[in-house]
């Protein structure tokens, strides 16, 4: 995987400069000119991307259906303040990833593999592939739910998802890919519009800020809610994606401040839109209709009956957007990880001929997930419900390596974590680990009959 030694030989010197270098240098030159001219707005516009995409990508189909389902089942209490708390946790983790990517110019997969050995690198990539495949299936299911509202079937969902992956890859530039997906991700705001249309009671909204009332139900139900809601905000793919995308974008230590703005903006928007989906779901709280979030047209159809067809239509479109953006970002994170672990070119700035593994995995993983939803009788509902839980259970190891890398003075120099960041990081890892483990162990013991439900 090591590149040949660079010497001052003219011939070798010319060979060192790749198309990827040129493309990245173009992007960097615009950043340099904006910085030199002190154009703050332009600089921010050029540097936002990876953080927004990681956060809005995580407001994916299963997450939005999950928030709406929580609202429909338990109302607004507890979840309205809990969602921002989780996104604040996500910000702490993603800021570290962005900083590591900007300082080292390397993705998470290759850094773990090179710094801590192949075993840990491949374990991380294995976790990622498993959770990404399951999540991608859930994304296609979410698109199918949205399309079902317009009387369109699984075939259209598959065609739409795969066409988007191929279309965004066709530009051969990171910048174009990022801006196309950002354009799509803006439609995550549809959930906020739906929340306004359903006219929430502001008194209830304000009183829910006190984390009460707590959701009712058995301990296992509460643990499932916690684990799946955590899995809706912090996941392994976000770690791989933001670090690799920051490096691919060409971010440097000088851009860390704007990277923080980007990540914070993503966290705030994702939090607002997530609460939008929760409020939309809460409109169905006393409707008495049995909501099957992933079955048929599910939520959009139920919302349409309660709050009018505009709410149903926008919620359905929101689900299609949420699934589509997540398919693009999750496929990209898998492709980055594959390229980094195999040790071959892994950039949107490289052509398919020069980065065959990267492009093949990007399309291939989406293709496999698409094939699953076309299997008659496949347990799509169960897969979609378990996607976030599995991500939560496997997350602590990835987070621990992020924390270790962010404290590696040899790699990070003066950009290592502050003590306060470490403290928050440890609290986040412990919290995520305990919630995931508690649900996994409790469910298992119930299943084998060692404890009652």
């Amino acid at each position: 995987m090591a590149a040949p030694e660079i010497t001052a030989s003219p011939l070798l010197g010319q060979r060192q400069l790749t198309d990827e270098d040129i493309a990245r240098a173009h992007d960097r030159s615009r950043v340099h000119h904006a910085r030199a001219a002190n154009k703050r707005g332009r600089l921010l516009w050029l540097l936002v991307g990876p953080g927004l995409l990681a956060m809005l990508g995580e407001n994916d189909g299963p997450s939005m259906i999950g928030y709406a389902s929580d609202g429909a089942q338990y109302g607004l209490g507890f979840f309205v303040p809990f969602i921002p708390v989780l996104f604040a946790m996500a910000f702490v983790c993603q800021e570290m990833c962005m900083r590591i990517g900007a300082v080292t110019h390397r993705g998470y997969g290759e850094l773990v593999l090179q710094r801590y050995g192949k075993v840990w690198g491949w374990f991380g990539a294995g976790d990622l592939c498993l959770t990404n495949l399951v999540t991608l299936v859930a994304e296609f299911v979410a698109i199918r739910v949205g399309l079902a509202y317009f009387h369109l079937g699984s075939g259209v969902a598959v065609a739409l998802g795969l066409t988007l992956v191929l279309f965004t890859l066709s530009g051969g530039r990171y910048w174009r890919w990022e801006r196309t997906v950002l354009g799509l991700a803006a439609f995550n705001g549809l959930f906020l519009v739906v929340a306004i249309i359903v006219k929430p009671h502001f008194g209830t909204l304000a009183s829910s800020l006190s984390f009460s009332p707590l959701p009712h139900g058995s301990l296992n139900t509460l643990l499932l809610l916690l684990a799946s809601t955590i899995g809706a905000t912090v996941t392994p793919w976000m770690i791989f994606f933001q670090q690799s995308a920051s490096a691919d974008k060409g971010m440097t230590p000088a851009d860390v401040r704007h990277g923080r703005y980007d990540t914070a903006l993503g966290a705030v928007l994702a939090s607002i839109f997530g609460i939008g989906a929760l409020i939309a779901g809460a409109a169905l709280l006393h409707s008495g209709s049995g909501i099957q979030g992933f079955a048929g047209a599910g939520f959009p159809a139920a919302l349409s009956k309660v709050a009018g067809s505009a709410a149903g239509t926008l919620f359905a479109l929101g689900l299609i957007e949420a699934g589509a953006v997540a398919i693009l970002t999750i496929s990209a994170s898998t492709a980055y990880a594959a390229g980094e672990c195999v040790g071959v070119s892994h950039s949107f700035n490289t052509s398919p001929r020069n980065a065959a593994v990267f492009h093949a995995v990007n399309v291939g993983v989406a293709l496999i997930a698409a094939a699953v939803i076309l299997i008659p009788g496949a347990p799509l509902l169960s897969i979609a419900l378990n996607a976030n839980v599995l991500a939560t259970v496997l997350l602590p190891v990835s987070l621990l390596f992020v924390l270790t890398l962010a404290n590696d003075r040899e790699l990070m120099g003066p950009w290592v974590n502050k003590r306060s960041t470490n403290l928050i990081g440890i609290v986040v890892i412990t919290f995520v680990g305990c919630c995931g483990a508690a649900y996994g162990i409790d469910s298992f013991l119930q299943t084998v009959g060692l404890i009652g439900s």
Partner: protein, 74 residues
């Protein structure tokens, strides 16, 4: 040869219009530099034990979640 000197060598021999452009990249941002592996870190026994313990714990809990998932399918 330092990173800066290596970049100078690359930039110097690049076609003219690209010379100025490449100066916008940091030396270690060049593709060939990113393929140079970072040195291996030495993990202490306690750190390794902690990592393996967490890894085994996470895999065990994942297996429990998958078992429950399959069982509930039936």
């Amino acid at each position: 040869m330092s990173e800066e000197e290596r970049r100078e060598a690359v930039v110097h021999h690049a076609p003219h219009p690209e010379q100025e452009l490449i100066m916008h990249l940091e030396p270690d941002q060049l593709v060939n530099e990113t393929f140079r592996p970072v040195p291996r870190a030495v993990l202490g026994r306690r750190a390794l034990f902690g990592l393996w313990a967490l890894r085994i714990f996470c895999v065990s809990v994942s297996a429990m979640v998958l078992y429950t998932f399959v069982d509930r399918l039936n």
